[in-house]
Symmetry: C2
DNA sequence: TCGATAACTGGTCAATCTGTCCAGCGAACC
DNA sequence: GGTTCGCTGGACAGATTGACCAGTTATCGA
């Protein structure tokens, strides 16, 4: 059971430190934070156990392997059948990075990438090839104004509650 | 300069291994992959240098710290003034996790989170309080059909080139 | 086809870090 | 008052790291 309650100030300092310099170990972190090593270890374990930290996997950049075009596509799903088969179809397409069901009649929002605008057409065709998809509407991302971040949020969560 | 060319099969195996078990070190990885430790070290360094791997920072889950509601909001920006001041405003709001400019007249797409639907209203109000924003349209995410992933993509990139 | 460069192997070394214990202490709680 | 919890500061053996090295393939251009 995730203990819903929050993170404290030390948790945030630890998370920020790890975000800034992921390669440092527990020992070095404890030195920087001026606490005992066991404390850092326990805090980390707790954060992971509670699910606040989902993992430490490598963050991959699609652009660096040739997928420089990002787009968001809204799919209108045929009411019967439900979302699951559509999600299964989407999961077979590597260029679909994530998908959410959203408010509004049977809609799905996906983030997709492609090698070029021409390649984007191919990806879209692959997506809409599924029979359960009634209509698709694509928005091409021109620039990343604000890169994905969560640190400010945990900072706020720690300050407030 | 990023050597645009791709990753090979060993790179992918390494990335997949690190994604599955991030805590293992270089030595253990070399054992699993049946290659010399130096090779793993060199591959990792190259992947990081090329930007394929952006980092190893902790992945945080907003839901675990009380922000269980995710939404996507499209902002129509007043033509004059440009996007930058708006992006600066958005960056001051912790609940705005990312933002992209998208095709269509002066539009911005943001991913935001909130503690509840009621709290979402507060976040939206905070976003639209900025004078440069003409109109906002919100889509609430009901369920995560496909969690964010990039592994299938690097797999495909390795197979094709 | 022949070199030359790059990549990989398998090994060493000292220094460091990890996992796992422990006893003691202060604060919060019942 | 007693108990539980979290933090401290320390200990230990074993494992890992970063830095080397010489020798062996691969790969690629001329």
């Amino acid at each position: 059971m995730p203990v819903t309650v929050g993170v404290d100030e030390l948790d945030v300092r630890l998370i920020e430190l790890l975000a800034a310099e992921p390669r440092i170990g527990v020992l070095e972190a404890s030195r920087r934070l001026k606490v005992a090593r066991g404390t850092v270890q326990a805090r980390l374990d707790r954060l992971v156990a509670r699910g606040v930290i989902k993992g430490f996997g490598p963050e991959l950049d699609p652009a660096a392997i040739g997928y420089g075009v990002t787009a968001f596509i809204t799919l209108e799903i045929r009411q019967s059948g439900g979302h699951d088969p559509v999600a299964a179809h989407l999961s077979t397409i590597p260029e679909v990075l994530e998908a959410y069901t959203i408010t509004g009649g049977g809609d799905l929002l996906c983030r997709i990438v492609a090698r070029s605008n021409a390649d984007l057409q191919r990806v879209i065709d692959e997506i809409v090839s599924y029979e359960g998809i009634v209509r698709a509407s694509t928005l091409i991302a021109l620039a990343e104004q604000l890169p994905y971040r969560t640190l400010p949020l945990v900072g706020k969560a720690a300050r407030h509650g």
